[in-house]
Symmetry: D2
Subunit: 345 residues, 4 copies
């Protein structure tokens, strides 16, 4: 049994981790921390966990995190990099669901997250936790920067095209939309139900933190620094789900290629990436509460490719992917605890 700790479990990625880990056959949840809610049974905050999780929140000091095999940080940006060193020294593997270990360039991190990076050495060591594109490195990693929700869908959608050099990489468009759980469980006016339901809008139009992450990763995937993706997020009036509509111009090779076959071959054998039949349009509900990404590839014009991607932002876009990384790091079957069927309707 893997002994697991969760730092900062009061948010949505925290409760999703608890949902997944409490059903994982090889995991024992050792401790879950919250300074603010220390002493409160987890199931008082999340009645959905009554009968499934018997722990109470504890302060980080009382959590005995160094006794864990793996610690997840489901915390605001900046927490993991402050605590990772001590855990690693104790032989604990660290998976950060925030952004501390995603951006390789500390200047970019500091620009977008408004804080200095205090752990550049670990950052260098940290592995970007997108298993389908980075599986071997994750297996051997001590520190994982778990990908952002939007970047997961954008990378998986563009990867076959970039790896096979089928598109003009300089003018990619990622027109994306996310449910409100992506904004977290923070008391803010703009995500009140009376503000965000029955409504739709773009946001972050002057730039969004996931933009640099997307471009860093797409460049790595392509091995080409000229990759440039315009990322435009929108806020959907639903709770769980990300939908990305990706556009690119096909080069000559792309126009000659069988795009459907390319995608199917690229994701052959991947249990969590489902390439839909030609002509499909994936729905966010088809992956609700599951770790699966569904992808459809279209050529609406001879020189244009459009890729449609759906994921559950809390599962494959956050906590499910983190568990997938844990499985790899711990030598378990990658799919363990992650095979739940999506909830539809």
């Amino acid at each position: 049994m893997i002994k697991v700790g969760i730092v900062g479990g009061t948010g949505y990625t925290g409760v999703e981790l608890l949902r997944l880990l409490s059903q994982h056959p090889e995991v024992r949840i050792h401790a879950i921390t919250s300074r603010k809610e220390a002493g409160m049974p987890v199931s008082d905050m999340y009645p959905s966990l009554r009968g499934h999780v018997d722990l109470a929140f504890v302060t980080p000091d009382d959590a005995g995190l160094t006794e864990c095999d793996v610690v997840f940080f489901a915390t605001p940006h900046g927490v993991a990099m402050a605590q990772a060193r001590e855990l690693l020294a104790a032989g604990v593997k660290v998976i950060d669901l925030a952004a501390d270990f995603r951006l390789k360039d500390t200047a970019v991190f500091e620009q977008w997250y408004g804080m200095a990076h205090t752990c550049p050495d670990l950052l260098e060591e940290a592995v970007y936790g997108l298993p389908e594109l980075n599986r071997d490195a994750i297996r051997g990693a001590r520190v994982i920067g778990n990908p952002g929700c939007y970047p997961t869908s954008v990378q998986l959608g563009f990867a076959p095209l970039l790896r096979h050099k089928l598109i003009d990489p300089t003018h990619l468009i990622a027109n994306c939309a996310s449910g409100v759980s992506g904004a977290g469980r923070k008391a803010e006016v703009h995500t009140l139900m009376a503000e965000a339901s029955d409504n739709f809008k773009a946001y972050g139009v002057k730039g969004h933190r996931h933009g640099p992450e997307i471009n860093q990763q797409l460049r790595a995937i392509a091995g080409d620094d000229s990759v440039n993706c315009l990322f435009v997020p929108h806020l959907l009036p639903l709770i769980r789900g990300i939908h990305s509509t990706l556009y690119a111009r096909l080069n000559d090779a792309g126009q000659a290629a069988d795009l459907q076959a390319t995608f199917e071959a690229f994701y052959q054998g991947e249990r969590f990436v489902d390439v839909l039949p030609a002509g499909s349009a994936p729905e966010t509900r088809s992956v609700r509460a599951s770790n699966t990404v569904r992808i459809a590839v279209h050529r609406p014009q001879p020189d244009t490719v459009m890729v449609l991607v759906v994921e559950d932002n809390l599962t494959k876009g956050a906590s499910g992917q983190a568990v997938q990384c844990m499985n790899l790091m711990c030598g378990l079957d990658e799919h363990l605890g992650l095979t739940g069927v999506p909830v539809l309707p």
Copy 2:
């Protein structure tokens, strides 16, 4: 033209007042105050008002409220009672959309609202602003306690039965449900879209502030202190709308009465109360964004009456009713500015 001021216009009753008053043919909005947002154009906060309201928020000190004919308080509880005296002295009529002038018993007020009542003299003078049940007093009033959203629907539903003494008044049940706009535009976790949408629950199960208001008023309507109503609110996953399902045991007179005819006669000529044909079930959307209440009366068992009532909690349940009171107080046609057709779908 009536010169109107609004104190505290950043919440939902504030924006609803602005929507209604900016279309009112006999009103000029003189000032709208917000200490926190002073200087910000109203339409920056509410883009729906672009082209309709050109004012900016001002501090109360700069608002020149004493020059107004009528001032609305769309503020937290406690603000109106602190400022009403000065305005009245200047000849300004005051309409409070909060609870300061609703509960006649200051001890009850202090118990439920957690603050001392600083204006008991004005409280005595204040008139409860439910025109269909209190029209004459409103016409002559200087201070209006605008009814709570739930109490409006419950009173209008029970009034014909209580006035005609057709029911056992001691065991009334008001099983009510409201959209989330009733909770206001406050940053709170429990009304986040990710918490309140796709969900339904009772709340305030240990007692809700509208309980004493309902009982005070039902007793006044019946002229009977034995009236006792159990009020149970529920939170609906929608923005605007209150639905009340009312139950009572019919006494002998009630069992002999033609309830449909009783309701139709009681509300004959009332433009904002629509008694539906026998057998109907009103929908909240049928009154969306309008000042209308729709009521259906049923006798599901020989000795039981059930009344179904819908209203828009922000219009007839708050700002529309306040404008209706203003019209009466200022000698205008009661319906002026309030005849908009409900928005469906």
Copy 3:
């Protein structure tokens, strides 16, 4: 392994059965029938099942249902009673999710369902499939009438009070609300999203089919034919979830009783009934996609009891309960395949 057939799997109870059974460790789905969709892979209709269910719909004739251990009918009313006899003769156990085997009085069935009952002998043998109240009979049953969604919540809420004779049984009120999936996957105007979302209303106000079922069962639970429950359903703008607010007058014994302790003792050891701590208000989302019912009991007035019950209408209210019955009938652990954690948020 239990060999299972599903008749009529294109509706919401069908896809929910597939979600649950495809994850059940002791079940193999042998066939799923649909005359209309014969030949279509199930996952073409429900992409959420891609990778989990590889079957295609078959016609009933090709389904080999008599080879099954258990056959579920997720069909319109009237289908199961036409086919049950042949299956039983072949030694197959039958679980009907429609109403064919719920109402013991065929005259009542015919009045409410508008068709003659063609199987009165099997009806007599059939067992009402609510395990918490009827476990032993279910274990030995060959034919199950799976309870209606509303009746499940109403019975579990009133049962402790009726069994202990703590309330006046003659004037019970069940004020209930259901999400739209309860109406099934039928093309109808009133459940279109543009009609049913952002809206709330009572329906079935002249009488609803679950009314006679509720009264039949409450009388059986109480052993008292004077039991009379007024059942009023409402339509919620959400997909999954039933919330029942139950009211009754406490008799002297009830006023003297510790209601919280009574409920806790009554459901002691029941894995799918969670009695919440005193003062709670259960949320529908706390049981989303799970087989759990959560109950809170309140005494808002000295002589009045209010019970709040939530369930997922597709799981405990339909397919989950059917699987629970199957487990009992087949001698399996009652909870097998039903321990998934609710999906929140």
Copy 4:
């Protein structure tokens, strides 16, 4: 007073016409037809209209449509072209909210709408009813093809850029999303609330009827047949609202231009087109139930322009625009009956 007839008023564009026209100071609704619902009071179908519209549906034969000044067709495609000739002969102006008079090329019409065009002569005469881009022609028209909902937003968003030749016209992208009311009030499974709520997807990915309309009109606006726009619609889980995210590559002139100033100048004086301040992101709710379109223009990359457009698909996207055309055709103030403030929240 203008005497108005409505053919086929049972759908959403019909009820929206009734909402607007019943509040229009210069209109009298003469008749509203429905073969299927003849005899039913309109307010029985739409209780929101109780007290505002007293008409009952009549058959087309009994409607006396030739006595009207203007007749609106809120019908399925194909109805208006069958009846227009007779009405025009009687001196009645015709406004078709369906597609019969939108596409100038009958071959294209027949390809996309699956029926022969029976009125090519009137088609030639018909005027495309987008007042901001076609006002003079509308003033003199006898027959109006009222624009599609999506095409309205796409045209208004691209028009300033195309007219001023600031973009490469050959690779425009219109990534659009609409609420479910756009699909009409038809009983269909895919727009059931249990299917369409809590969900998001692209649709019409193999081609959508509004694609050829968009391209025909953008070419006319630009005076350039090389214009080519890829149109991708998505289905939003809300009732009213269209959001279009438009992308184009700026040419040298475009890169040198002040785009914000260009848009502001282009729509100067237009009451129903609101160009938002630089840096804005319009919300669909900011135009809910109003005839206003809000537009924001962005240059996220030096050579890329992004335009964000919101409209209410039933108002400016359908019935409001039709009334705007009627006003122009009848010599009334263009804004009459269309100045209602958007409903927010």
